[in-house]
Structures are given as structure tokens and as C-alpha cells.
């Protein structure tokens, strides 16, 4: 399908492999939070209620845009771990087509032992972030000039 950038599957594989090198939960969280530090974040004027993801205990704001049939997202959070998860999402989804994003199973958290973050209910926002990304991707798909 898409050839550049790498497929989401291979990015997830790569990240999972990176995490596997790490010995214990401390190293994994340290690495995750390190990834988070590289996340650009959002300017204050984009931290709006509209961009707020419902269901995060730490507030997470997320915006996406679609250019030439490629999705790009920016996000920010108050919490280190949430920012780390944002980093993973960006690595996997940024630059992918809306169609591919809608087809992708994002199982990375499971594979690196972060399952708890994906559970239903409202303690965390990963489910909410994913829902927002998918929602925006389907909007983009329905908007002709993006395709």
C-alpha cells in the first residue's frame, strides 16, 4: 500500500523491539517518558476544550491535520506517561494516509506491557486519543480535497 514512510505495522514492530531490550518496568517507563520529552506539544491557544480528549485523568489535547492525503498530529499532556504515549502514537500514525490509519490495529501498548492504559473506563485517555485520531481520519477521508 503506502511505501513511504514505513508501514505502521513495521513501526510498531520496531518500537516493540526497542522496548524488549529493556530489562524491567523502570527502564521501560524511563524510556517511554524520554520519548515523551521529545514531543513538541501544543501552543497555549490550541489547548482548547475542543481539542481536549475526554476521559483522561491527565488532560490531553490533540489536533490533527491532513495534507496531501497524509495525516499529521500534534498533542500535549500534563503528565509524563501520557506524553510518552503521545510520542508512540505520533511515531506510528504521523505521515500515514487516513485510509491506512483506519485499517490499522494499534496493539503496541499491549506488546510493551502498557495494557492497563488501553482499558475501558475513564482513568486514561489512550482510548480517547485513538478514537479522536480515527474520527479525524474518517473525516479527512470524506473530504474530497484531501484525497
Amino acid at each position: 500500500m503506502s511505501n513511504l514512510p514505513s508501514t505502521m505495522k513495521s513501526i510498531q514492530d520496531q518500537l516493540a523491539a526497542d522496548f524488549e531490550y529493556l530489562d524491567d518496568w523502570e527502564e521501560r517507563y524511563a524510556y517511554l517518558m524520554d520519548l515523551g520529552k521529545d514531543v513538541q506539544g501544543l501552543p497555549l491557544e490550541e489547548k482548547t476544550t475542543d481539542n481536549l480528549i475526554k476521559g483522561c485523568q491527565s488532560r490531553v489535547w490533540l489536533t490533527t491535520r491532513c495534507e496531501n492525503n497524509r495525516m499529521w498530529m500534534s498533542a500535549d499532556s500534563e503528565a509524563f506517561i501520557a506524553k510518552g504515549i503521545i510520542a508512540l502514537l505520533i511515531k506510528v500514525f504521523n505521515g500515514q494516509t487516513p485510509a491506512d490509519i483506519l485499517n490499522e490495529t494499534f496493539d503496541l501498548p499491549d506488546r510493551i506491557g502498557l495494557t492497563a492504559h488501553l482499558s475501558p473506563g475513564r482513568a486514561n485517555g489512550l482510548a480517547g486519543m485513538l478514537a479522536r485520531i480515527r474520527h479525524d481520519a474518517s473525516l479527512a477521508l470524506a473530504t474530497p480535497n484531501n484525497n
Binding site: 475526554k54 492497563a116 482499558s119 475501558p120 473506563g121 482513568a123
Partner: protein, 423 residues
């Protein structure tokens, strides 16, 4: 082997109910030196081992408050709770988890709709339509909201068979009717109403519909999508699940318009002293710590019912019903109250000159548990000119032998009261 040898054809059925019956601990006890015969399912069903164990396991391992917790127990409890919701969604053919609200029971579900939907949609002169068959739970809440709003409560009459005719329903659904709330199956007489048709009739006239499905859940499959109904209510305890849990199903588009009636934790989005905003569905209508263990028990009850399968449940209960009607019908003193053509596993009867309470007591002395009284349907009793009935209500694990025992016990009780000649 040819077809004329029925034992072979029936063989796979027999072990079924025996194995099923074994799963219910409460069924295997003596009452007054006789084996318990439980015929009070319309009041509440017995619980299979798996339902009891699911709750025990929850308390032993996962117990924690749901939502918002970051720790593992809370995540596990939350997952189990939300998976139960998804299972319920599937079980009743709903579309998404926003449509299933966990309540404390049918009564709470109906009251929630009467209060919340009612305050928003009823005004003086409007009509609320129910049938003459209703349980007080689908009558009193409507009376209350009618009193508050000035709307009128209208009753579709019951005929002498204990049926409500679709013509009467059609006639009484008119431009002033705002909601038609009816029980799918009457807990007092067993009458099965043509729910699909009634919902269709009401919707043709733009009238909102609510089904009290309390007596349906353990006995027949429910498909809210196929029904097209706006609200549907039931209790876990009547479907082999625990006490203290029920479900309110509502179409998402309608639930979204409901103002919460109960405020507190979990149902809010943002609280300031001046003003609060509400969370999304379904949380908006579930204030406070829910009955987590109960919901997990409900989930296990769904698994249990589905593991048996509706076709078996319906076939067996119908066979038991036919046999019970035959046996009870053979006792001349017995007068059935309600003879609906379409009947679930519920039989109400009286013996003229004998108070149901006496009969119930003398049956209990013989280990037989059935219900006597007005069955929370006083107006219906008044319609039949009686204060109450004896009611036999069946479940798939009842046996033909138990029905024989009932017959014998009835005759013995009647003899004791001088209503049958000693033989």
C-alpha cells in the same frame, strides 16, 4: 432405527436439564421434609453456581471502585464492569454502550424514564398509555409524573381472557398520547403481548414506547433493534442474576436528551459551585458507585443463558407450561385467572371459597413454593373481582415430576380444607 422410536430422538434432550438443574445449589434442599419445588420464578429466579462464583471471584480478587482509578484492581474492576455492559449491549441487540444504563432494577429503570423523559415531554392534557395488565412498577411511576405534569393516565382494557387486544391499543393511541408503556409479558397472568406490533403502531403515530421486559429476559431472546422500541427495562434477579441490578436500554438519540435525575460522582464532567456539566452517556445516568459485583453477576447470567440457548429454553418451558395447564386443568375446583392464547410460563388460579393464602401455606408445608396475592397488580385483580391468586411460574429447570407433585399437593390441601372428598 426408524422415526417411530422417539426415545432415540429425545435422548440428547434429557441429560440437558438434569445437568442444568445441578448447577443451581438452592434447588437441592428439603423444605418441611419435602424436596423443594420452586415455582416462584416470576418473583425471582434461582442462581446458577457460575453467577454466584463470578461475584465471589470479583470480591476475592478484583474488588475496587471503577473508573478513574489508575491501579490494577481498579482497572480490572473497570474492565469487567464495562465488558459486562458490552455483553448486555449484544445480549439485547442494542447498538452501542451508550444505550445501556445500569440501574438497581426494573423499578428504578422505569422511574428514571418516567421522571426524566416525563418532566421534559409531558404537559397538562397529554396522555400516557399503559395496559390493564401492568405491574405496579409500570403504573405508579406514571401516576406520579402525571400528577406532577397534569397529564392523564389512560389504560387499555383487559378482556376476560386476560388479554389486551391490538384493536384497543390502536384505538387508544392517538394524537394526545405521548408515550405507550407496556409489559411484554404479564407477571400476573403470563399473557404475552405482541410487542413488535404495538411498538410499530405507536411509532406510526410518533408516540414514544417503553417495554417492561422484566418477565421476558430469562425466557425469550430480546432484540431491541428489531423491536425498534425507545426504552426497555429489566432486572438481573429475574434472569438468574443477582439482586440490586437492572438495565435501562434507551435509544442513544433519546437518552442524550434526558436530564439526569440523580447527581453525584461519576456522572459529572465539570463541577463548580455555580454550575455543573454532565459526563457523556452512559455515565451521565449512573451517579455514584455502581453495583459493580452485581453487574458482574449479570454478565455471568447472560453467559449462562446463552450457553443453554434460547431454542432449548423456549421449547422446554413451553412443554412444561402445557403439561402444567393440563394437570391443573384436571382439578375441577381450580379456576384459571387469565386464559391468554399466547402465554409464557405463568399460571394464575383460584379455588372459589378458599383464600390463596391458605392454599399457599398448605402447599409450602409440602415443599412447594409458589406465590399468592395480588402480584403487584391490584387493579388487574380488581378487574377479575378477586383479591389475589395462586401463581405458578416456571423455569427451564423445573421438571414434569414437580408438576405432578404440585397436582398431588393441591389435592391434598383441598381435601384438608374440605374442598375434595377424602378418597
Amino acid at each position: 432405527m426408524n422415526q417411530s422410536e422417539p426415545t432415540e430422538c429425545k435422548a440428547p434432550q434429557e441429560p440437558d436439564w438434569k445437568a442444568i438443574r445441578m448447577e443451581f445449589p438452592a434447588l437441592h434442599q428439603q423444605v418441611n421434609d419435602s424436596p423443594l419445588v420452586y415455582f416462584d420464578h416470576a418473583a425471582t429466579a434461582q442462581k446458577p453456581r457460575k453467577v454466584i462464583d463470578a461475584m465471589t471471584r470479583y470480591y476475592e480478587l478484583d474488588n475496587a471502585n471503577v473508573h478513574r482509578g489508575v491501579h490494577h484492581l481498579s482497572q480490572r474492576a473497570t474492565r469487567a464492569y464495562e465488558e459486562a455492559r458490552m455483553k448486555t449491549v449484544r445480549f439485547i441487540g442494542a447498538e452501542n454502550p451508550s444505550e445501556v444504563i445500569f440501574t438497581s432494577g426494573t423499578t428504578a429503570s422505569i422511574n428514571l424514564v418516567a421522571q426524566s423523559w416525563g418532566s421534559a415531554h409531558l404537559k397538562a392534557g397529554d396522555e400516557v398509555l399503559v395496559t390493564g395488565l401492568e405491574h405496579h412498577a409500570n403504573l405508579v411511576p406514571w401516576q406520579m409524573i402525571c400528577t406532577r405534569t397534569g397529564a392523564h393516565l389512560k389504560i387499555v382494557p383487559v378482556n376476560d381472557l386476560g388479554e389486551v387486544s391490538t384493536e384497543s391499543v390502536a384505538q387508544m393511541l392517538h394524537s394526545k398520547t405521548r408515550i405507550f408503556a407496556f409489559s411484554w409479558i404479564s407477571n400476573a397472568l403470563g399473557t404475552i403481548n405482541p410487542a413488535h406490533e404495538w411498538v410499530r403502531l405507536a411509532h406510526e403515530k410518533g408516540i414514544t414506547t417503553l417495554i417492561d421486559a422484566a418477565q421476558v429476559v430469562a425466557h425469550h431472546p430480546i432484540d431491541v433493534h428489531g423491536l425498534g422500541v425507545d426504552f426497555l427495562c429489566f432486572s438481573a434477579h429475574k434472569m438468574m442474576g443477582p439482586t440490586g441490578v437492572g438495565v435501562l436500554y434507551g435509544k442513544k438519540s433519546i437518552l442524550e436528551t434526558l436530564e439526569p435525575m440523580v447527581g453525584g460522582g461519576d456522572m459529572i464532567d465539570e463541577v463548580t459551585y455555580e454550575k455543573s456539566t454532565w459526563a457523556e452517556l452512559p455515565y451521565r445516568l449512573e451517579a455514584g458507585t455502581p453495583n459493580i459485583a452485581g453487574v458482574i453477576g449479570l454478565s455471568a447470567a447472560i453467559d449462562f443463558l446463552e450457553s443453554i440457548g434460547w431454542s432449548y429454553i423456549e421449547r422446554r418451558e413451553s412443554e412444561l407450561l402445557q403439561y402444567a395447564l393440563l394437570k391443573l386443568g384436571s382439578i375441577p375446583q381450580i379456576r384459571f385467572i387469565g386464559q391468554p392464547n399466547n402465554r409464557a410460563g405463568v399460571i394464575s388460579f383460584v379455588v372459589d371459597g378458599v383464600h390463596p393464602y391458605d392454599l399457599g401455606t398448605l402447599l409450602d408445608e409440602q415443599g412447594i413454593a409458589l406465590r399468592t396475592g395480588h402480584h403487584c397488580a391490584q387493579p388487574l385483580m380488581r378487574h377479575f373481582g378477586i383479591s389475589g391468586t395462586c401463581r405458578v411460574s416456571l423455569a427451564l429447570y423445573n421438571t414434569f415430576e414437580e408438576i405432578d407433585q404440585l397436582e398431588k399437593a393441591l389435592i391434598r390441601a383441598l381435601r384438608l380444607m374440605g374442598k375434595v372428598q377424602a378418597q
